[in-house]
Every structure is written in structure tokens, then in C-alpha cells.
Assembly symmetry: C2
Homo-oligomer: 267 residues x 2
Amino acid sequence: MIVWLNGALLAAAEARIDPTDRGFLLGDGVFETICVAEGEPRHLPRHLHRLRDGAAVLGIPLDLSDAEIDRIIASVVAANRLEQAAVRITLTRGPAPRGVLPPQNPCPTLLVAAQPLTAAAGAVDLIVAKTVRRNELSVLSRIKSLNYLDNILARQEAASRGAGDALLLNSKDRVAETTVANLFALCHGRLLTPPVADGALPGVVRALLLERCGAAEASLSVEMVATADAVLLTNSLSVRAAASLDGHFLARDRRLERDAHAAALAP
Amino acid sequence: MIVWLNGALLAAAEARIDPTDRGFLLGDGVFETICVAEGEPRHLPRHLHRLRDGAAVLGIPLDLSDAEIDRIIASVVAANRLEQAAVRITLTRGPAPRGVLPPQNPCPTLLVAAQPLTAAAGAVDLIVAKTVRRNELSVLSRIKSLNYLDNILARQEAASRGAGDALLLNSKDRVAETTVANLFALCHGRLLTPPVADGALPGVVRALLLERCGAAEASLSVEMVATADAVLLTNSLSVRAAASLDGHFLARDRRLERDAHAAALAP
């Protein structure tokens, strides 16, 4: 695997993250995962907008233009001889002296990696995570930060219960998202997704479904998801149906699945 | 600076964290900060107990014995020619393929670094953080994980408002801790500290004050802190008084400060 790190293309095995990097020591950074199809990154301006937004929330400078990042992605995809790829951009505050307060003049780390895109498997069995809640009361719930342990713990809980993903509730018992996807539920003919204020990450494909499929934001209870006429899980790499929740089958709507998939793919 | 990384002592500038390390990409790990005084790590068994507890929560193996870690710390402190040091142990799940679900057989990263211990400054001006809340509904609030962005954001907020640290409230408006310390408030003659269930990290010095100073766990409101007869902030490197909260002076109790300091220092 070849990666781009702070200005250079190099073998991942040669790439060195400094042991004082605040991304490593404190999770101090943001990232994006981008689908590259036939060599072209999908919805790149939207991804870079969110990356810049997250970096601004944290106060991490990002000096490269969108066009420069586009060229970097192309160089990494080409160097790995990939046509379909999952590209990850990781931006951290970089190496710094000890302490929680960031340095005045950070020297950020920017890493761009590309991996082969594997076709998403079929419908997903869900559980409701018991071990963690999504903290909608932190601005972190609205940016794609490196603080992923709540999601990791819930994903481990799902695996231990034989499921593929976990529904994360917020502090008010409302549905926020899953560990790797936004959630849409078809309720009485309306396609609904939790608002960002409930702890939903403002996903790129989520926005596309809001714009293109007549979906709307609404707070969701577990009961509403369990009794929905269809439940979809979206992220930048896939649009998938949920097959079950805590062992109970969920209804499916193949036409809605096709429409959502098309909405996610269109430029 | 010389660090110990996965079995070897080496210059920090030579130490290489892999770009696929889950600590770097997802904040997937735990850490400890330990005070070394006159060459001896303070309260090491307590720190290692917490480190192991956090690693067990995340499912990260830690194969070294306490005695082995003690020897590693001694070697790092000696290599850096330090007598007084802040030692940090960082344990991550290590390099892994892409994905939120951890690998079945992780190859953890263990980093031990030592830096000169600077004397803690005087009393601390506090604010109540407005931008983030402590998520007491996640098990993460009970372990010392690498997911530090809530604390970083609150610390930045404090700095922007001219304060030295920020009080973090939980989802129920109760006081949890500050961004780098546990909090004790002297209320009507009783020394109180928020329970772990309210989002307080189970700090090592916090436990010492509970055992040695007659302190007790009790939920605290901001009002109780604002009107307390003394407010103390404790972590493994310092016991400090809080001087003010949101610009209002706090009462101080020099005798309590001395007693708490002594309780933190005694073996």
C-alpha cells in the first residue's frame, strides 16, 4: 500500500507517524472516507466541505485547496493501481508538546490512503447498543472526528450478539445513527432520518437522500424503527437495508432501496 | 527525548507509529500519566490497575506484568536523565486493516515516554464549559481513553475566556470533572466529589482523597461548586485550588489544600 503523508507518496511501511502526534495521543483530528469509482472520487466537494468544517471546529489549519486534495487523491489511487477504492483522508493537529491545550502554531499531519473497495454485503442485522450512547450534547457528534471508541464498543457489542451493526441512541433515548451509517426509516409513507441535533453525523449520502428522495429530518424512537416499513443504512461506501433489529425482522422496500442507491450514486 | 516503543528504547525522532495504527486512526486505546518523583513512579499499582481495566473494557491485550512495566518506566526515566518526570503510558490496539470492528488478533502498540515534570502553577481560574458535555452514559467516561476531544474543546474554550481549565457538566447538568482533573468541593464541612456514575474519571488521587481525607461521593450542581467553602482540582501531577468560577471568586481553605496535597504524596 502506498500512502500520501505530509507532501510525499511513500510505502505505508515507510510512512512514519510521530509518537507525539496529537492524533495518536489524544484523538485530536478529523477524517473523511470517500468512495472512488472508476478513478473518480464521489461527491468530493461535499466531503471536503465537511472536512474543513470539522477542522475549523477543532481549530486545525488545512492549507490545501480542494483541487490540490483532488490531485493528491488521484495520485494515491493511481499509485495503488486502483479503480474502485475507499480513500481515507486523516487530518490531525500533528506533533506537539505534552498537554491537553493545543499548541498555538500546530504543524498538522495529513495522511491520504486508498484501499480496494469491497462490495458491501447484503442487508444488515442490527441491535440497539446497550453499552454506549451517542453524545448529542457535544459538538463532536456533528463532525467526523477521530474519537471513535463509542462506535467501536457498540460495534463489538453487535458482533458479540451476532449482529452486523448497532443502533446508537442519544442521551434522550432517541435514535442517532449506527456505528458506521446514518439511518432512514420509512414511517407511514414518509422517509425519516434523525436530525443532527439528535446526534446524527451530517453524512454526505444522508444529505443526498434528503435532497433527492424527499426524506425529512425527524426524531425517531426505537419503536418507530422497529415498526417502520423499511429501514435503510447509508454511508459513503454503501446504501444497505436493515434486515432485523434485536432479532425481530424488519420490513423491506426494494424499490426504495433502489431509489436510495441511485440517489447516492448520481453526481 | 528517548521513548520505549514495543520493546525498544529509541530516540523519539526515530520512533515510528504505523499510519494504520488504530490509536492514530480511531483513538482506539488507553493511557496513563504517572508522576515520577526522585526516580520512583507514584502509586504505580493503582495506575496499572486502571490501565488494565481500560484495556479490558476495550478488549486490548496487555501481556506485560506490573514488574516489567515498572522496569520499562525506570529505563525511560533513566535514559532521559530525569529525576522528576511525567511518564505517559499509551496502549493502542495497534495497526489493523480498515474498519470499525477490531481485528480478532490485534498487535497492540505500547509507548512509554517521560518528560520533565514542571511545577504546577498556583490556583486555577475555571469556567463552566458551554461547548461540550461529559457523556456519563458511555463506559468511556470511566476509563482513561484516547478520545480526548471533548476535553480539548473545553480547554480551548477556557483559554479563549481567559481561564485555566473548564468544568465539564454531564447530560443531566451535574458536575463531572474538569478537562484534566477531578473536582472536590467542601460543602457544609463535607468534602464531596462527583461519583463515577456522573461522569467522573476514577482518578488515582481522587481515590486517595476518598480514602485518606474523609471525602465522599455526591452529585454536585454548579451552584454547589460556586458556593463551596473550597474547591480542589486533583490529578496525578498536581493538587490545586480553584480560584474562581466564571469570573466569581471561590473560597479557599489552605489547611485542606495542604492535607489533600499530603494525601496525594504519601505512598
